[in-house]
């Protein structure tokens, strides 16, 4: 059992002190490295701090409403195995090794840490135990790629064993060099994307959005909604904002059908804001649709969003849940690219690609400030809308996203 | 004790010669670099060996010191096998593992020689105890030099042997030197027999270079032991004609001393004694010649004997092979 310290990392450029707004987990809860663990308020905004390791939140050191400085330890996470500890780069050593010869009688010769010397890991030499090297050799594993959990970072037997276990599923995928037949999902996606590229003339417009207000409100709404409520995510805000924008711009809330040359060609308006959400699943993508989003408050949007994401992952979507949208949102999350161009999912007319949130410099009233920003890239079917409409649409979307006008409940 | 017949004396004369010649070969070959280590010669002390050992049975246990070639031969060991052991050959008494200072010939009761002064005294007492405990009539004899009186083990053993009434004959060859130091320098007690009385042990000091004297005294002592009268300390005054060990150049003796010694040579003295009793000197010379040939042949065969196989070096540490399988 190792204890890993959860510290306040530096989030903004100038950040030195924060106020703990809300712990998103309680003592005893399991946490996964990278998931939001607590919210803190900086001078600028409420910011989520992600869990430093995977394990169990064993102790909270700084309570809600207390202040903490960057670098302060605010909690302990107990990791059942070294994986949790390794994931957190700045995790301190869990237990100091017994220094040899401090007992006057010097009754123990050496410690397991002795051979680790001063603890400094020699960059050129990988410390490892004989049995670990033997196992690594048998499995063709490079010791340099393994983080050792022994004294001084020594690679031990179970470190190698874990590396072997971890690499197995990926190995079978990546190392499979023989041609693979298409799964049904792969085939469907290939067809749809090829069709989209072939038949829909697509162009993009891009704008960045400042999340500051949204983050602040999200914290407020969460407090208002209570602990039982579904947790609001940025996608929920995007859904509500997009829904409003679609209602304001009915020209884009439509789908093109038919051959442009033929008389059957139509632009069909939708009767409400039906928005798809791109969900990554095992073998590809699913785009479940939430219908009539304009009628929903954020809380309900969140509930429905959680539900259809879960059922997407389990493959339990109904047919009508996969159609009817005029636009989809594709959010690749915190690990996603700064910006990207998504391909429209036919028969939809547009798709909104949300880049990752990152600190950016903006000028506000002649002053340079740092704000949490994302790039939004809207891909539009040029048969339905042209550049001006698309730009206006996007600008409006951004205005809503940066505003304070939200509905929590319907 | 029955007085030996002339034939017995002649045999003993031959025995003295065999030891003398044997030691001569050892000296010669050691000087030529043929013998490993540093053998100790008993040249000049043959009368003690022959006088005592001729009266022992094969079953009587005999222990000796680093200067033990004569005792071993006198006890009945094969000349060739003894010389082969000194050469370190496979056919030696101990297969080449013991060497000059550790001769063992169990069949003839030669139970050990040791290089640690006084090291065998207690073992001899132990052998005597075993005979006593098992109701055997066998006795135990140990030869040692006068230097042993400096060792604690000497006193411990005399005390114990007397206390337990053990049938052990302590034969001290007092040649006046311990290593390179004369007796005066390492003990205030001139005669080793002086130590016997305090422990309650019977003792006698005799001229160790006169075979008839040794024979008579040893015979009496042995009979006393066999009668169960307890341990006996026989001190034989003698002289070393060769140095302490081969290579010792004897700087520490005067030339006059050495001339005196030659006059006291036990072989010369026995020859004089026997010719005085009417034995033909030529007969004695013939016996000497015969001994010379016998020893020569044995030495030649020993020199031709095979050397031990290095692959066997770990054998005999223990009896059981499993116990011996300890990495070196």
């Amino acid at each position: 059992m190792t204890r890993v310290a959860q510290e306040i990392p530096k989030v903004g450029l100038v950040m030195e002190e924060v106020r703990v707004v809300r712990w998103l987990k309680s003592v005893g809860d399991g946490v996964v490295a990278g998931e939001p663990l607590l919210e803190v308020e900086t001078e600028k905004a409420v910011v989520e701090i992600e869990a430093a390791a995977t394990g169990r939140l064993s102790e909270i050191l700084v309570q809600n409403d207390s202040r903490a400085a960057v670098g302060d330890q605010v909690a302990w996470i107990e990791c059942a195995d070294a994986q949790g500890a390794v994931a957190a780069a700045p995790a301190p050593r869990a237990v100091d090794p017994e220094p040899p010869d401090t007992t006057p009688a010097a009754r123990v010769h050496g410690t397991a840490a002795d051979a680790a010397g001063d603890g400094a890991r020699d960059a050129a030499r990988i410390r490892s135990t004989p049995v670990a090297r033997k196992l690594a050799g048998e499995h063709g594993i490079d010791l340099g790629g393994i983080a050792g959990t022994g004294p001084g970072g020594r690679v031990q037997l179970d470190d190698v064993q874990r590396a072997i276990d971890a690499s197995r599923p990926a190995d079978t995928g990546a190392q499979s060099l023989s041609p693979m037949p298409l799964s049904p999902m792969r085939r469907a996606l290939a067809r749809a994307m090829s069709l989209s590229n072939a038949t829909i003339p697509q162009f993009t417009v891009t704008r960045s959005v400042d999340w500051t207000e949204m983050q602040a409100l999200r914290g407020e709404f969460a407090a208002r909604a209570g602990p039982a409520a579904a947790k609001l995510s940025v996608n929920d805000f995007l859904l509500q904002a997009l829904a409003r924008t679609l209602i304001e711009f009915p020209a884009l809330n439509a789908t093109f059908s038919g051959d442009p040359d033929s008389s059957e060609a139509r632009i069909e308006p939708a009767r409400g804001a039906h928005i798809g959400l791109v969900v990554a699943v095992d073998d590809g993508l699913l785009v479940p649709v939430i219908h009539d989003v304009e009628r929903l408050g954020l809380a309900e949007i969140a509930r429905r969003r959680e539900d259809c994401v879960e059922r997407s992952l389990k493959g339990r979507l109904k047919r009508e849940e996969l159609s009817g949208a005029t636009i989809s949102i594709s959010n690749l999350g915190a690990e996603g690219p700064d910006r990207f161009r998504a391909i429209i999912n036919p028969p939809q007319s547009a798709i909104l690609a949300v880049g990752r949130r990152r600190d950016g410099v903006v000028v506000k009233d002649g002053v340079i400030v740092v704000r949490p920003l994302s790039d939004l890239t809207l891909t539009v079917d040029h048969r339905v809308a042209d550049g001006r409409l698309a730009s206006q649409f996007l600008a409006r979307l951004v205005t809503i996203l940066e505003g304070r006008n939200w509905r929590l409940e319907a | 004790m029955t007085e030996p017949k002339l034939t017995d004396w002649k045999e003993m004369y031959g025995a003295l010669w065999r030891i003398r010649l044997f030691e001569g070969h050892v000296q010669r070959l050691a000087a030529a670099g043929e013998i490993p280590g540093f053998p100790h010669l008993s040249t000049g002390q043959e009368a003690v060996a022959v006088g005592v050992c001729t009266q022992l049975k094969a079953e009587d246990a005999m222990f000796t010191s680093h200067r033990g070639h004569g005792h071993v031969l006198a006890k009945g060991s094969d000349i060739e096998a003894t010389f082969a052991e000194i050469l370190g050959r496979r056919t030696g008494l101990c297969g080449g593992r013991g060497g000059s200072m550790h001769l063992v010939d169990a069949a003839n009761g030669v139970l050990g020689a040791t290089g640690v002064v006084a090291g065998n005294l207690a073992l001899a007492a132990g052998a005597a105890w075993a005979a006593q405990a098992q109701g055997r009539q066998d006795i135990s004899v140990v030869f040692f030099g006068d230097g042993a009186t400096g060792a604690g083990a000497f006193h411990e053993t005399l005390n114990l042997a007397a206390l337990w009434h053990l049938p052990v004959l302590f034969v001290c060859e007092n040649n006046g030197y311990a290593e390179f130091t004369s007796r005066e320098e390492h003990s205030n007690v001139k005669h080793v027999s002086s130590f016997a009385a305090p422990y309650g042990i019977a003792t006698q000091t005799i001229d160790g270079n006169d075979l008839p004297t040794v024979y008579a005294a040893a015979g009496a002592a042995i009979e006393s032991l066999r009668r169960g009268e307890g341990p006996y300390l026989l001190e034989c005054m003698t002289f070393r004609m060769a140095g302490h060990y081969v290579g010792d150049s004897q700087q520490y003796r005067s030339k006059q001393e050495l001339a005196e010694i030659r006059e006291k040579c036990p072989i010369e003295r026995l020859k004089r004694h026997l010719t005085g009793r009417g034995v033909d000197p030529e007969e004695l010379d013939a016996i000497a010649e015969q001994a010379k040939t016998e020893v020569q042949r044995a030495v030649e065969r020993a020199l031709a004997a095979p050397r031990p196989d290095p692959a066997t070096v770990l054998e005999y540490v223990y009896r059981a092979p499993a116990l011996a399988a300890i990495p070196g």
Partner: protein
């Protein structure tokens, strides 16, 4: 029914005296019962000729026992304290151990030297040592160190019947230990270790009184979720590397614990052998727990500070199992 270590040793000697007329006991105060009472009553039972007192002459009595062993007796010599074995050493090392070899296998010394070692509180520097390391250094000797009464019973009988010079090292703190003697149990073979406790995380190698200490440490470690396998060596020379190898191949971690001084102790020999023969099985450096490098002091708190205990074993093992 439970008997003390002393009672069980006495029984073993009694039975061997009855079984083999060549067996004789000797030593200082042995006929009177011995310094620790091990031989009490045996002179009366088997006769003064079979169980004998000797003067305080370790050199002579060791030689006596050796000479007798050469000539058909099977002596069991008692050297009261292993500290006094120093006085026996010339004979023991230069003669007894080497007789078979020097004679090219023609002579043997079936001798058992019984002695006892260890600190027992206040016996001080010359009566508390553990000197077994000196003797594993001598080819020709067998060195045995039993850990419990039942073990001692079988190992002593085995030693008497073995036909080699055996140094049989008892431990003063074990003398009052009680155990039931299983009837008809097979004699444990000389040269074979036993697994005193099975485990999977670490191998703790010990002998003599330290086995009990190691078992205590193992219980404490078990509460902390660490499974220790305790090996009771029983025989120190020859060493049972096969049992050690099997255990280390399973646990990949080793700690050797003995009461003797660490420096040049038996643990050092074992650690070196593990390092060279079992290198590829190791997941941690081999550790040793032993006595600090000082003579055993008289005052109890000083003695306690020097001697190794279960806490030292626990601490060392926990250090071994740490994750960074």
């Amino acid at each position: 029914m439970q008997h003390t270590f002393i009672e069980i040793l006495r029984r073993a000697l009694d039975e061997e005296l009855a079984r083999d007329p060549a067996v004789h006991l000797l030593g200082e105060d042995v006929a009177a019962g011995g310094a620790f009472g091990v031989t009490r009553g045996l002179a009366q039972k088997h006769g003064a000729a079979r169980v004998r007192n000797t003067p305080i002459s370790e050199a002579a009595i060791t030689g006596l026992a050796t000479g007798a062993a050469l000539c058909g007796l099977k002596p069991v010599l008692e050297i009261m304290f292993i500290d006094f074995a120093t006085l026996s050493m010339d004979c023991l090392v230069n003669q007894t151990a080497k007789y078979r070899y020097m004679s090219g296998g023609r002579l043997a010394v079936p001798l058992v030297v019984r002695t006892q070692a260890g600190a027992a509180g206040g016996a001080a520097a010359q009566h508390s040592q553990s000197l077994e390391a000196w003797f594993i250094h001598v080819p020709g000797l067998i060195v045995v160190a039993p850990s419990t009464p039942a073990e001692a019973y079988g190992l002593l009988k085995g030693a008497i019947r073995l036909g080699e010079p055996v140094l049989f090292i008892e431990h003063k703190r074990l003398y009052t230990m009680k155990e039931e003697l299983p009837e008809g149990a097979e004699l444990p073979p000389i040269g074979r270790a036993r697994i005193a406790r099975s485990g999977t995380d670490v191998t703790v190698i010990a002998y003599s009184a330290m086995v009990q200490t190691a078992l205590e440490a193992a219980r404490i470690l078990a509460d902390a979720g660490i499974s220790a396998e305790v090996i009771d060596l029983r025989t120190l020379l020859p060493l049972d590397m096969a049992t050690i190898a099997k255990s280390v191949s399973k646990t990949h971690r080793v700690l050797i614990a003995h009461e003797a001084v660490l420096n040049g102790g038996v643990g050092a020999e074992i650690a070196a052998r593990i390092g060279s023969e079992l290198f590829d099985a190791l997941d941690a450096p081999v550790l040793r727990v032993g006595c600090g490098f000082a003579p055993i002091p008289f005052a109890p708190e000083l003695e306690r500070a020097l001697l190794p205990g279960s806490a030292d074993i626990v601490r060392a093992v926990r250090g071994m199992m740490e994750r960074q």
